[in-house]
């Protein structure tokens, strides 16, 4: 047997009882076996103290803002937030400035990531679907893929022209998954509030859930017609869930994601015009929230993604209508979702499936299922550790989260990529 280089001893698992030991060699899982207090391996040893050992997480939807908007976030701070949140793979959206619609931008992103976080987390850029995200000409997707892009998306600037979108799906089918931000660009225009009783009272232009569901329906029809896969980003409402459930029953090649904030909050968070809760698509009703939770449990919604959208303080310190959309989410995703595990709405296994295994499978990224030879990407989670979400506690430059000031129970104590520690709250572990 190969000699282990690292041993993580006395940890619990999401899907199995008992205490376990993880042995790592050459950046890969050597063995996961029942905890043996007597064993004294030669390897460097981390005392797991009975913490939860989870596979490293994959975020299929983050905005890291570099190049071009480094006052909001950059690749260094974004990946720091990812590591602190337990993420080992981060897919970053193309709406940078300039847009990631050519190989030189993709390569620049990858070089930056390699320079600032050589041990990981790993960065996987998402290429633009159309040039400049303008929705008119197809981006050079083969070139982008060769440069390192793992998917294509017009996120933030949904393609209005259905003919262009059809051709984009068709063209991309042989090159990589297309991630679509589903929003009717006319109906949804200029709003950060769900259309309903709350928007009526607050005097805000509402964005109806049908503005999302219409595009979900369009995408499903096109995916089925073309036999081309499509991944639906940040699904926020029951109407979309029902369309996706129907499509999956028919066997359509559709996958979908939702985000922690749609599971944890409703439009009520907008009372007092709280710009921190302004996000696109907007927070919906409790009925929508419950539909999304159920869809995650049943697999109608495949994955959880953060839609990490960092902004500078001054971009949120404005009247509601003028504030930027978005919530900073990489630091807090797992810890905030843990409240749903605690209350029994989701299981720890759901979290592993939706935040680690399934996203890696959809986008063909490295994944650790704790089988020998898997990349030793893991995190140690303390479900009992309470912490307050202060600006200082967030590694992201974006302090824009409605969780600010709240206490969360559950914290990522350590993150490792390829067996190398990239984040450790306890300095003795040696990040």
């Amino acid at each position: 047997m190969t000699t282990p280089e690292l041993a993580v001893r006395n940890v619990r698992l999401a899907d199995r009882d008992g205490a376990w030991d993880l042995f790592v060699a050459a950046g890969r899982v050597l063995e996961l076996c029942a905890h043996d207090p007597a064993a004294a391996p030669e390897a460097r040893t981390l005392d797991g103290r009975g913490l939860l050992l989870l596979p490293g997480l994959t975020d299929a939807h983050a905005h890291l803002r570099e190049p071009g908007q480094e006052w909001k976030e950059d690749i260094a701070s974004g990946l720091a937030a990812a590591a602190a949140g337990g993420f080992v793979n981060v897919m970053c959206m193309a709406n940078t400035s300039p847009v990631n619609d050519n190989a030189s931008i993709t390569k620049h992103m990858l070089r930056r990531a390699e320079a600032v976080w050589p041990k990981g987390p790993r960065l996987f850029p998402i290429g633009a679907l159309t040039i400049g995200l303008a929705g008119r000409e197809l981006a050079p997707m083969a070139e982008l893929r060769q440069a390192g892009c793992v998917a294509f998306s017009n996120d933030g600037e949904p393609v209005a022209d259905t003919e262009i979108f059809r051709r984009a799906l068709e063209y991309a089918a042989d090159l990589g998954p297309v991630i679509d931000h589903c929003e009717d660009p006319y109906m949804a225009k200029g709003s950060g509030a769900n259309e309903g009783a709350l928007s009526a009272r607050l005097g805000l232009r509402g964005q109806p859930d049908v503005a999302e569901a219409l595009q979900v329906a369009r995408d499903i029809l096109l995916a089925e017609y073309l036999g081309a896969p499509v991944h639906l980003a940040h699904v926020s409402c029951r109407r979309s869930v029902e369309l996706i459930a129907d499509a999956k029953r028919r066997g359509a090649s559709v996958t979908a994601e939702t985000c922690p904030h749609y599971l944890l909050m409703t439009e009520d968070a907008l009372f007092g015009y709280d710009t921190m809760a302004k996000v696109n698509p907007p927070l919906r009703t409790d009925d929508d929230r419950l539909a999304l939770l159920e869809a995650l449990r049943t697999g109608v919604i495949d994955i959880l993604a953060t839609d990490h959208a960092p902004h500078a303080a001054h971009e949120k310190e404005t009247p509601f209508e003028e504030a930027k959309n978005g919530i900073s989410g990489l630091d807090t995703a797992l810890a905030s979702l843990w409240s749903l595990v605690r209350q029994g709405s989701l299981t720890a296994s759901d979290i592993v499936e939706r935040l680690a295994w399934r996203p890696a499978a959809i986008f063909n990224l490295p994944v650790n299922r704790f089988a020998p030879g898997d990349p030793a990407d893991f995190l140690l989670f303390d479900p009992e550790e309470s912490w307050v979400v202060t600006p200082e506690a967030l590694r992201s430059k974006g302090k824009n989260t409605p969780l600010l000031g709240q206490s969360l129970t559950g914290r990522v104590m350590l993150t490792a990529v390829n067996g190398q520690i990239v984040h450790a709250l306890d300095p003795a572990a040696g990040a």
Binding site: G196, G206, G272, E317, P319, F320, E322
Partner: protein, 312 residues
């Protein structure tokens, strides 16, 4: 007199007693407006900033006169020609104003929630003179003052708010306040000029004028902004008038001594027939007069509250 609020952001923050205090105070100030020398020293040495980030003539003038009749100094700040036009954020403008230590800021802004945004960041009193589609509490209070002068009580009265409810801060605030004071409010507009969930505004909703106006004691017409047509919410003004213009004929379905209100400025022949605006049962100019008295009352209550607190 016990006035508990630092700011006036919307009528929803007011209790019934608060409203009665405003009504009584406004009534007592009205007498000043009828004097040959329309000035009392009540707010001498106090500074009131009139921060109108959206065009306004009537409301701004009304606040200006109200403040000056109480001997406060007023300082006008408009969006055009101000640092806001030079790209300064609202936060910075407001912090700058705060540093000059005014006693009250009167704010009109196109964004819903802007008054609350400011109130959270300054220590002086903030009066919302209209924020986006959200609230226009001084208009609601002056409407109530006007109607109370006619009826003495709103209990049992039915009031129709007619027109562009969706984009109207007047409708939102007035509906709330008139209901609080015991009136039954109806809303009437084409569906495109109502919020999708109009029932959230706490009043029954009508889409046709004839049933809506049946037996009402007052009709409050709302101004129709011309850009609603451009946004595709209406075919044109002529078509709107055909369905919703308040005419003498339509008003016959209302109670015999029905009163007519309009927050102004009026589009004659669109929301209201020209002759009706000038008719004897029109309260439109009474609303303007009440406006000055109500704003005097609010400036007085909010600004002197602080002094009383310091003495105590």
């Amino acid at each position: 007199m016990n006035w508990p609020h630092k700011d006036l952001l919307d009528v929803s923050q007011l209790s019934r007693e608060d409203v009665e205090v405003v009504m009584r105070t406004a009534a007592s100030f009205r007498e000043i407006n009828a004097r040959p020398v329309k000035k009392v020293p009540t707010l001498k040495g106090k500074s009131v900033v009139l921060f109108f980030a959206e065009p306004s003539t009537r409301t701004k003038t009304s606040f200006d006169i109200a403040a000056k009749r109480l001997s406060a100094d007023t300082f006008a700040l408009a969006k055009t020609g101000s640092s806001l036009q030079k790209g300064e954020t609202l936060k910075d403008t407001v912090l700058t104003l705060q540093a000059m230590n005014p006693d009250a800021i009167v704010i009109r802004h196109s964004a819903s929630g802007a008054a609350e945004f400011i109130a959270r960041r300054v220590s002086c009193a903030v009066i919302n003179a209209g924020d986006g589609w959200h609230a226009h509490p001084t208009q609601a209070l002056l409407d109530a003052r006007t109607l109370l002068d006619v009826w003495h009580s709103l209990a049992g009265k039915t009031i129709l708010i007619l027109g562009d409810v969706a984009h109207s801060r007047v409708a939102r605030s007035s509906c709330r306040l008139l209901t609080m004071l015991g009136a039954s409010v109806r809303l009437c507009a084409p569906r495109t000029l109502l919020p999708k969930d109009a029932s959230a505004l706490y009043a029954p909703v009508y889409h046709e004028l004839e049933p809506a106006i049946e037996g009402v004691d007052a009709v409050m017409c709302l101004r129709l902004q011309l850009e609603r047509q451009e946004a595709g919410l209406l075919p044109d003004l002529r078509e709107y008038a055909r369905r919703y213009c308040l005419t003498a004929k339509r008003l016959k379905r209302a109670a015999p001594d029905v009163r007519v209100l309009h927050p102004g400025p009026i589009n004659r022949g669109v929301e209201i027939a020209s002759d009706l605006a000038d008719a004897g049962n029109s309260l439109i100019l009474d609303q303007v007069a009440s406006g000055v008295a109500v704003r005097m009352a609010l400036l007085y209550l909010l600004i002197t509250r602080k002094d009383k607190g310091e003495i105590a």
